[in-house]
Amino acid sequence: MRTHWFTPWLYVIPALATLVFFLIYPSFNTLVISFFGPQSEKLVGFANYIYCFTNEIMLSAFRNNLLWVALFVPLTVFLGLILAVILDRVRYESLVKSIIFMPMAISFVGAGVIWKFVYSYRPTGSAQIGILNAFLTFLGRQPIPWLIERPWINNICLIIVGIWIWTGFCLVVLSASYKGIPRELLEAARVDGANEYRIFWKITLPLMKPTVAVVATTMFINVLKVFDIVYVMTNGAFSTEVIANRMYKEMFIFRNYGRASAIASLLLLFIIPMIIINVQRFREQEAFR
């Protein structure tokens, strides 16, 4: 049967049309709106972008997101990797894995509430209901206002919640990849004279590299979009603001569509390179099989 040049397009067009209508068009519209004022009533040029890069709270949001990237991405991936390798030698592996994966099953808002209790603070002298401060006072120490102490402690406390939630995901994906490595390769390396540490760096890690890259970029994208944890636990108070939460506020609290769209466009801009890398890595991984 003869196929016309347009035959493949007939198959692609429904999906493509949906994509254009629900994804490309809104993105493009957001970009356009970002050059307009609060109610899209008049063109303001780059004013919204200038605001993003000069406003103090926006700058602190950028800084905090950088801190999230610097701590959250390496720690989730590293913990996931180490746990994947170590748990492989543990008898109750699947049980332990399920427990570590559990936070993923809780809504992030729920996780925020749980950890708000963990970090809860009452002034010195009153009963501490947060487990951390209860422990500190039990030891006879001063309680610490975990979510207020700026700029490091409160941000790091939030990042820990993120790590708590996402490590399980990294673990499960990386563990599957680890189990895909033929046991004989590790045995061959052992006979060749490698200790476990060397095997990890010279054999295991290089073979898992494509998966590690996919997981790392996924975590990177997660971190740029981080919102719920911050929204629930501090709502950006005490210098814990992040980009996505700021966007939400500009949009739904201050009703400044222009600024919200500018922030959204910037987020998209930061994420695009990561998505490209991710897709490339994914292809590489497929080729490796």
Partner: protein, 366 residues
């Protein structure tokens, strides 16, 4: 000097006894072949020697040193795996150099050793390639190369040829034998292919169900199998086993298989006298049958009549599937034999080469 000694080694996986109380002594520079059917514990034994499997009980010595608690990397062994286990992210050079780099050898020495091994194995041109760009035979060579660059005391091979086609297997068989002469190292080689075992080994160790059945030079094992299992396992096609009774008549001993009666040679008598009148299993190798036409020693005492069921020509010899009474027999006969399927044939048994087995203990009587 690298003797490998196993003393009462047992390995259990939960209830499964993979290796059952095996004691083996492999001399320095020996080419020892562990052979046996699938699942008999060959790989487990080899992996225990390599240190990849902890033994449940017993002791393993390499070069007179107790190695039970020594990790694989310090045992001074190299192993070639069945599916080669080449590192997919390294090229051939680095696959071979990996062990040497770990030992922190100087770069020139590594280069030289890899080059040397590559020349021996004819893979100099492949050094820059990744394993997935190699054919099965080339991968196999790289796996051997990775072992020989290390110059270990003991080489362990786990069915290294089983993934190759028949022709390449024969060629590699000869090459590994040559390599053994050249390396002057102890080799322990696992296979389930008895032809490989017979052709390469200086001594073969036959395992079944985790137990050592017999150890000895290939021809000795072929000529004097210790029990029914070894007799059936070594030799191709397998030995014919005929349930029969031992009779004494006029101070001579006879095998009575109902459909035939043959007289045993007198040097059998001392070992068989206690079985008089009892059930025994009479064992005859296919190659110990001869067509009466071309074998002048045929007499009434060593000739049987049988019906031809199937004929399989192999070239210089022909396999005859015979039926004698209710006994099915396989005989390897002279290719000049002109009998057809369905006809009767008279075959002569070369009785001094036959065996008798105790049907209960399955041990060889003679």
């Amino acid at each position: 000097m690298a003797r490998v000694t196993l003393k009462k080694v047992t390995k259990k996986f939960k209830e499964v006894v993979a290796v059952d109380n095996i004691s083996i002594d492999i001399e320095d520079k020996e080419f020892a072949v562990l052979v046996g059917p699938s699942g008999c514990g060959k790989s487990t034994t080899l992996r225990a020697i390599a240190g990849l499997e902890e033994v449940t009980s017993g002791e393993i010595y390499i070069a007179e040193r107790l190695v039970n608690d020594i990790p694989p990397k310090d045992r001074d062994i190299a192993m070639v795996f069945q599916n080669y286990a080449l590192y997919p992210h390294m090229d051939v050079y680095n696959n071979m150099a990996f062990g040497l780099k770990l030992r922190k050898l100087p770069k020139e020495e590594i280069d030289q050793r890899v080059q040397e091994a590559a020349e021996i194995l004819g893979i100099e041109k492949l050094l820059k390639r990744r394993p997935k760009e190699l054919s099965g035979g080339q991968r196999q060579r790289v796996a051997v190369g990775r072992a020989i660059v290390r110059k270990p005391k003991v080489f362990l091979f786990d069915e290294p040829l089983s993934n190759l086609d028949a022709k390449l297997r024969v060629a590699m068989r000869a090459e590994i034998s040559k390599l053994h002469d050249r390396l002057q190292a102890t080799i322990i080689y696992v296979t389930h292919d008895q032809i490989e075992a017979m052709t390469m080994a200086s001594r073969i160790f036959i395992l079944n169900e985790g137990r050592l059945q017999q150890a000895g030079p290939p021809l000795e094992v072929y000529k004097a199998p210790a029990n029914l299992f070894v007799a059936g396992f070594i030799g191709s096609p397998a030995m014919n086993f005929i349930p029969s009774r031992l009779l004494k008549k006029d101070s001579s001993y006879f095998i009575d298989a109902e459909s035939f009666l043959v007289k045993l040679p007198s040097d059998f008598y001392p070992s068989i006298s206690s079985y008089e009148g009892k059930e025994v299993i009479f064992g005859v190798r296919p190659e110990d049958f001869h067509d009466k036409q071309f074998y002048p020693e045929g007499t009434a005492d060593n000739t049987i009549k049988a019906k031809i069921e199937v004929i399989e020509p192999l070239g210089d010899e022909v396999l005859f599937y015979l039926l004698c009474g209710e006994h099915s027999l396989i005989a390897k006969l002279d290719s000049r034999t002109n009998k057809r399927v369905g006809e009767e044939i008279e075959v002569v048994l070369e009785l001094p080469k036959t065996h008798l087995f105790d049907p209960k203990s399955e041990k060889t009587i003679v």
